[in-house]
């Protein structure tokens, strides 16, 4: 084992390295600042040019300058040198600049290792099927670069084949380790602040425009599958945060008074119960978006005083939760005075016209007040649109008596304002409404475009009752979904606007495949691992038995790979085999052919020693000699094989 000499890099290795660098860096272009992508691209183009012209690489000081400039740029862009995005940006920068100083084999090795590392960072942003496939390609390229580096010049196809073969043989290890490697739920330590940036969903407050912005995304918020029948579409209200504090512009959840015990919600459900499992995309909030109203919660979660199901921690990974809900219910017929008081509070002075209108209704019973307000929305000239005019300080007044164009947030907000002004406890609920059944896998898909806001009023003896003012203006929003409710030309995401059947079907298939991928590949967590292990007989596995089974299975896989790649024997040609078998038969009868004995000499010796075998042996030897040294054909081979069968049987001891 001598120390590694510094091998100079071969010219033909560079394209492989560059291809690997490009394949690992390119997908990051989507979330890197444009200047960095341009810098990376030009560095690579420069390297290609140098390679093509066989120019010497730039001096080290110029590269050092480039690195310093790049790092300074990244620090300026991200305001820090730590964190996920910064780290990725720096890695991409190094990956692009490293090819400019690949002098030796060692540099190339460092580059490939960097590339392997860079592959991991793509999963910060996406773990979808295309990402997985693309990274497989990138990995093949990087491995090919290693093969080219150590194996010298070969045709591209040979290198690609060898790299794919290696990856193929590594697959069993992937499977075993993926299933059996003891999983730990992260994080191991605090994550940088930007670790969960870019997760979208409902926010902790509602101001004009916040929901209509969300609606323009076709991204999936969650998927649900019902064990039994699915509720009516008009009953599919998925409850998110509840807002009971208004400052004239923004609705928020009131901060509960400190020290008071949290009142327990009291829910009386009647009618059908629906059991279902939801797979929630990570949204970095605690709410679990259960169907109104939950009667049975999953573990590690709780029901807030305002009835929304809350997880113990913020949802930072895709999570799978099971609930039972009832759509006919009475909730909190007896409500805490503090909550009711909060549900009547309005900011001073603003919206005088709405207040005046509501005060006219104050003498009516609360149900009548709500019905009057809804009737106003229904009968008068209100419109449902994603692009409402901007509103000023007295937003509710301007909306009710001026613009009359709005979205669910405007209607819910105005309705709750009117109710409170009329003395009915009311609050805003935000969540999702509806969903689309994917017939391929039976999951109800709820997108960000299904985001919705509605109202709840408290009636003595009935508790909190849901009132959806949007339904009064645009009933089709609730019955058929947002697409049917909005006029042409509204900025809805194209993914929900597919009007061709085959396109819709294609989308359904793709989303169903993604769902399976999410659940069975990405969703393999410690809990699923325990389930799987107990199914294969390892009940309550500790780390020792898991390590043992892991080691055994890996050993088996290693054995299989070893046997697979074992040097294969050359095939013995049939003539040789037939002659050898004939000689073996003679050996069993007491005449051994010496290794140096030719066929004819052997036949002569047999004739001397064993005259009874002489004729047959001489024929066999003739055939063999003819096949070996004369004109070949099938006939002598057949005769040679027959000679063996015509030998007199040996005495068999076992009979």
């Amino acid at each position: 084992m001598s120390s590694q000499p510094s091998h100079a890099l071969e010219h033909g290795t560079v394209p492989w390295l560059l291809a690997g660098a490009l394949a690992t860096a390119a997908p990051h272009a989507g979330h890197l600042p444009l200047w960095l992508s341009l810098l990376v691209a030009s560095a690579m183009l420069w390297r290609v040019w140098l390679w093509q012209r066989r120019r010497p690489l730039p001096p080290r000081w110029s590269l050092a300058l480039l690195v310093i400039a790049g790092v300074a740029g990244v620090a300026w862009q991200f305001h820090s040198l730590f964190g996920k995005d910064t780290g990725v940006a720096l890695l991409v920068l190094f990956m692009a600049l490293k090819p400019l100083e690949t002098h030796h084999r060692r540099d190339a090795l460092v580059m490939v290792m960097l590339g392997y590392f860079l592959l991991l960072t793509h999963y910060f942003y996406s773990q979808s099927i295309p990402t997985g496939l693309w990274l497989l390609v990138a990995m093949t390229l990087l491995t090919g670069a290693l093969i080219r580096l150590h194996g010298g010049a070969q045709p591209i196809t040979a290198i690609a084949r060898q790299a794919s073969l290696l990856l193929l043989q590594a697959l069993p290890f992937l499977l075993i380790l993926y299933l059996l490697f003891p999983r730990v739920t992260g994080p191991l330590w605090g994550l940088p602040e930007d670790a969960h940036a870019g997760l979208s969903g409902l926010s902790e407050q509602m101001s004009p425009g916040s929901i209509s912005n969300l609606i323009q995304s076709g991204a999936i918020a969650f998927r649900s599958r019902f064990a039994g029948e699915t509720p009516e579409k008009a009953d599919l209200y998925w409850r998110g945060p509840v807002f009971d504090s208004y400052d004239g512009i923004t609705w928020r959840a009131a901060t509960p008074a400190a020290g008071l015990p949290k009142p327990e919600p009291v829910i009386e459900a009647s009618g059908t119960s629906y059991a279902y499992t939801s797979i929630l995309e990570a949204h970095n909030q605690r709410w679990l978006l259960a169907l109104d109203v939950v009667t049975s919660l999953p573990p590690e979660s709780s029901l807030a005083p305002t009835f929304e199901a809350l997880a113990r921690e913020r949802l930072r990974i895709r999570s799978r939760v099971s609930f039972i809900s009832a759509v006919d219910y009475r909730a909190n017929r007896i409500e805490a005075p503090g909550i009711l008081q909060q549900a009547l509070t309005l900011p001073e002075k603003i919206n005088p016209r709405a207040r005046a209108l509501a005060s006219e209704w104050q003498s009516l019973p609360p149900e009548k007040i709500a019905a009057t307000a809804l009737a106003m929305f229904r009968k008068e000239d209100f419109h449902y649109t994603l692009r409402p005019p901007l509103l000023g300080v007295d937003a509710v007044d301007e909306f009710l008596f001026g613009t009359r164009r709005g979205f669910c947030e405007h209607y819910a907000s105005a309705f709750v304002f009117l109710m409170r002004a009329a003395g009915v406890p009311a609050r805003v609920v935000v969540g999702y409404q509806g969903g689309e059944l994917n017939p391929v896998d039976g999951y109800l898909v709820v997108r960000q475009s299904d985001a919705h806001a509605w109202a709840e009023i408290w009636l003595a003896g009935k508790g909190w009752v849901r009132i959806d003012p949007t339904a009064a203006v645009a009933p089709s929003r609730i019955e058929q979904g947002i697409l049917a409710a909005l006029p042409e030309g509204e900025p809805l995401p194209s993914i929900i606007r597919l009007d061709r059947d085959w396109l819709r079907q294609l989308r359904n298939r793709w989303e169903a495949a993604n769902n399976s991928w999410n659940q069975w590949v990405l969703g393999y967590n410690p809990q699923r691992q325990r389930e799987l292990l107990s199914r294969i007989g390892l009940r309550d596995p500790d780390w020792q038995s898991m390590t043992a089974s892991l080691a055994i299975l890996c050993g088996l896989a290693l054995l299989i790979v070893t046997l697979w790649t074992l040097p294969r024997r050359r095939r013995v040609d049939p003539v040789q085999r037939a002659w050898q078998r004939y000689c073996a038969q003679l050996a069993r009868r007491g005449v051994c052919r010496a290794a140096w004995e030719g066929p004819l000499a052997f036949a002569q010796r047999v004739a001397r020693e064993r005259p009874e075998l002489a004729a047959l042996t001489s024929e066999a030897a003739d055939c063999y000699a003819q096949l070996r040294y004369g004109r070949s054909g099938d006939e002598p081979l057949r005769r040679l094989q027959q000679c063996m069968r015509r030998l007199p049987p040996t005495r068999r001891k076992e009979l």
Binding site: L120, G152, L167, F173, G186
Partner: protein, 320 residues
């Protein structure tokens, strides 16, 4: 302690010579350890695993496990790149000290896959890299840069490979019964003796070939241009080739004597001078003899004679 270590090494690396041919590399003779790149790879994987756990990246786990599998598979492939290779050593041609001796080794690959990037070297000497095609045969000449005259025992060959990924270093120590004659480095000086001047004059005229003295039967050491083709053609009944004999050369018998070399030079330099004389005399077609202390080779001509002389010079002073 040191003796024990040597014994362990001998047992582990089988430092004995390979008597049996061909040398087949079995698993007992192939050693494998991770390279520095392999250790780096393992470190990168460990860091990646921590990252994947920290950020809960399922696909990240898959990537790391696939790479780990790749590492294991690379180990198997590196091992199999050597496993089952058959080596048959050949004879090395004699060289002059300071030149590269080349030890030929025939490599037979019986398997379907080719074997790539096999590096052969002697100890710390620079080596050669060869590929052996599938079911193919390649002859590689392992270089050894010689420094001293004598019979060279190159020792064991180091056969190493890092193919395919460079994460592992597999090696083996075939040790064939090899030797190579290393002649002293020739030092060209004018030929010695009274005839030295005459020889130099005659160099272009080839005077030794002018005085025809008769014909005799050809011996293998005779140059072909001395064959008397006309005489052979006339006497077609006989198979014998005849060569022309010349009077001039025979009279100028040259003795390359140890005592003619400058005594102020060291032994090796004197041997080098003698070697230079042998080469010059041979090139000039002179009949020459060699005298060393305790050894005399009678004057003769031809390549066999030259080899004799050079060998005597190479082994001068060595134990018989």
């Amino acid at each position: 302690m040191i003796i024990r270590l040597a014994a362990l090494q001998r047992w582990l690396f089988r430092l004995a010579r390979d008597e049996q041919l061909p040398i087949v590399l079995g698993q007992r003779r192939i050693f494998i350890v991770p390279t520095r790149a392999g250790v780096l790879f393992a470190g990168v994987l460990a860091v990646m695993l921590i990252g994947a756990i920290n950020y809960n990246l399922s696909l990240g786990h898959a990537l790391i496990f696939l790479l780990a599998g790749l590492g294991v598979v690379a180990m198997v492939h590196t091992f199999h790149n050597l496993f089952g290779l058959r080596l048959t050593p050949g004879r090395a041609e004699a060289v002059f000290a300071g030149d590269l001796a080349r030890f030929p080794l025939q490599l037979d690959n019986a398997r379907r896959q080719s074997r790539r990037a096999l590096e052969f070297s002697f100890g710390e000497q620079p080596g050669v890299t060869v590929d052996v095609p599938s079911e193919g045969r390649v002859i590689v000449a392992v270089p050894y840069s010689t420094a001293r005259r004598g019979r060279l025992d190159p020792g064991r060959v180091t056969l190493a490979t890092r193919y395919p990924l460079g994460l592992f270093h597999a090696w083996s120590y075939p040790h064939p019964l090899w030797s190579c004659m290393v002649y002293p480095r020739p030092l060209r000086t004018p030929l010695p003796g009274p005839s030295a001047g005459a020889q130099a004059d005659h160099h272009h005229g080839d005077s030794g070939q002018e005085d025809f003295a008769g014909l005799r039967a050809r011996q293998p050491s005779d140059p072909t241009r001395h064959i008397a083709w006309k005489a052979v053609a006339r006497r077609s009944d006989e198979q014998l080739l005849l060569v022309k004999q010349f009077a001039g050369g025979a009279s100028d018998e040259l003795w390359l004597d140890w005592s003619l070399t400058p005594p102020e030079c060291g032994q090796e330099d004197r041997l080098s001078i003698l070697t230079g004389w042998v080469m010059t005399a041979d090139e000039q077609q002179v009949r020459y003899g060699l005298t060393l202390p305790g050894l005399q080779i009678a004057p003769a001509q031809g390549s066999a004679h030259r080899t004799n002389c050079l060998q005597a010079l190479a082994l001068y002073g060595a134990a018989p």
